[in-house]
């Protein structure tokens, strides 16, 4: 048990970083996880091709909320190109726990919202295969 709900995951899920909304986001994105009803809203502020601010709100399991919280910390200050390049493994590394097949959708919900948001800037669609 202790290997799964590690302290940092519980901490991020109970006290999510970058929680809330931005006043004037460059792009916003909402994603749902139909499996468990997780819901995530992400606001990104992008200036000169760099993510200068990010906020998110959501409800969901500890894994989805912690992963989203960790990701917001990770992407702040990164270029759009760098964010586009973030993949599944980076999120799993941040979480640092083995995530089974069914919980993967929870873990990747934040990444999905962020990437879909960034892709939306250039009218591109996120291909779900990128997250598997």
């Amino acid at each position: 048990m202790d290997d799964f709900y590690q302290q940092n995951i519980l901490d991020h899920s109970k006290h999510p970083r970058n929680s809330g909304r931005l006043g004037q986001p460059t792009v916003s994105r909402e994603e749902l996880n139909p499996l468990c009803g997780d819901k995530l809203h992400v606001d990104l502020l992008i200036e000169d091709e760099v993510v200068t601010d990010v906020r998110f709100t959501g409800r969901g399991c500890a894994i989805s909320q912690a992963a989203a919280s960790m990701l917001t910390e990770e992407i702040k200050g990164k270029s759009v190109a760098e964010v586009r390049a973030i993949g599944k493994d980076a999120v799993l590394e941040l979480l640092g726990i083995p995530v089974g097949y069914t919980r993967l959708k929870c873990a990747l919900l934040g990444l999905k919202a962020i990437k879909a948001g960034v892709y939306g800037l250039t009218d591109e669609e996120l291909d779900d295969d990128e997250l598997s």
Partner: protein, 413 residues
């Protein structure tokens, strides 16, 4: 001396019939509390399917050679067993499908498209599984019919007094679940049918949760269609049943088309086979049908009344134990009106996290919206955790659930 025999299950003997239950998960004995999603299978069912593949595997209704004869006979015997199990007048009224979902889609498409028109109404309830809601949405869109909804009260019972208001001459079909897979509520189908008949509406019953857990008799209920799944009643996946009144089935056009369902095929026109084959296009799930027949024998031998009584006892016990956990919210009606399904939430811990902690404790429960998103909206819960019981469930497993929940409280304190 007369004695009244309360139906009793010999749980230890029953458990010995289920190979999968004899295992440890994460260092604990497996407590499988998710039979509502899919039940476990007794060895006799697994062996019956194995025997078919090893000894007489062949396509059915085609060959005149021995193996095909044997396979056909075994499959048709299974159909007769299922017919007896639900009190059908004839085995021809038993159509094998893949599952409840396909059975309902069959009715929605074959009956719906040829019987519904603009202005007609279909009455469903707010507690339906998506499989008894979405097909009606699609068919309503296609035909111009409208949906009405029977509401539920705060403890998850259908508001029956609304029925007269909701039913009219325009109501052509009432589609209702006999038992909710989230709340456990057992609905008074018979009373609903009486009202529906007054306006001439047909009644389709989603029996996915009722047929596995208590005796269901289609003639006693006086309904028109019954849909259920093999995998929830000790049978395999990939086989389900649609029962329908013969006259209605006969008048319906086919659903899927191709082999087996035809009588005569010309290049431009074809005619249809007799029931049930008219609705069974293509090679059926033969092993699975045989497995389901065997499951029905198994359940009948144990006794559906005994199974129901044992589940009521377990549910009573579980509700008492769970009520003692601080911060636990229970959904659904009192035990007299429900089956062995208990949905709950623990404080504000997400049910997925609850289920993950329980899993580490060897306890398998479902977490999510249980394919009932509108119902979740009504209870203002994005999801719940759900424990459900079957003939092999023990009191010790419920105790294991309770101690797992205590552990969960510690972690998320």
């Amino acid at each position: 001396m007369t004695q009244t025999i309360a139906p009793q299950l010999d749980i230890e003997r029953i458990r010995a019939d289920f190979p999968i239950l004899q295992q440890q998960v994460n260092g604990y004995p497996l407590a499988y509390l998710d039979s509502t999603a899919s039940s476990q299978k007794p060895a006799v069912v697994i062996e019956a399917m194995d025997r078919y593949y090893r000894r007489y595997n062949a396509n059915v209704h085609r060959g005149v050679y021995q193996l095909s004869e044997q396979a056909t006979e075994a499959m048709e015997q299974a159909r007769s067993k299922v017919a007896r199990f639900i009190g059908a007048k004839s085995a021809r009224e038993i159509i094998f499908t893949r599952n409840t979902t396909e059975s309902i889609n069959l009715v929605a498409n074959a009956w719906g498209r040829s019987n519904l028109k603009h202005g007609d109404r279909i009455l469903v309830t707010e507690m339906e599984h998506h499989s008894n809601l979405v097909p009606w949405q699609i068919i309503a869109d296609a035909t111009g019919a409208e949906l009405d909804f029977m509401p539920i009260d705060g403890s998850g019972r259908l508001a029956l007094d609304e029925l007269p208001r909701l039913l009219s001459e325009q109501t052509k079909l009432v589609a209702v679940t006999q038992m909710s897979n989230v709340l456990g509520t057992i609905n008074p189908v018979k009373a609903i049918t009486v009202e529906a008949k007054k306006v001439g509406a047909l009644v389709l019953v989603d029996g996915a949760q009722s047929v596995p857990h208590f005796a269901v008799d289609v003639r006693d209920l006086d309904i028109d269609f019954l849909a259920f799944s093999g995998h929830k009643m000790c049978g395999p996946t990939g086989i389900g049943v649609l029962w329908g009144r013969k006259e209605i089935l006969q008048a319906m056009p086919p659903f899927l088309a191709g082999g087996s369902m035809i009588r005569q095929v010309g290049l431009r026109r074809s005619t249809w086979n007799d029931l049930p084959h008219k609705f069974e296009a293509g090679t059926p799930a033969i092993a699975e049908a045989i497995g389901l027949g065997c499951a029905v024998d198994y359940l009948s031998a144990v006794g559906m009344d005994a199974i129901h009584a044992a589940e009521q006892q377990l549910t009573t016990y579980a509700l008492e134990q769970l009520a003692g956990i601080d911060g636990l919210t229970l959904y659904g009606p009192p035990v007299a009106e429900r089956g062995g399904v208990i949905s709950f939430n623990l404080d504000d811990v997400h049910p997925h996290d609850v289920a993950a902690v329980l899993d580490r404790h060897g306890v398998a429960v479902r977490a999510g919206h249980h394919c009932c998103q509108p119902l979740m909206e009504i209870f203002n819960a994005p999801a719940t955790a759900r424990a459900s019981f079957y003939l092999y469930t023990t009191q010790a497993e419920i105790d294991q659930l309770v101690s797992g929940l205590e552990k969960c409280k510690e972690i998320f304190r």
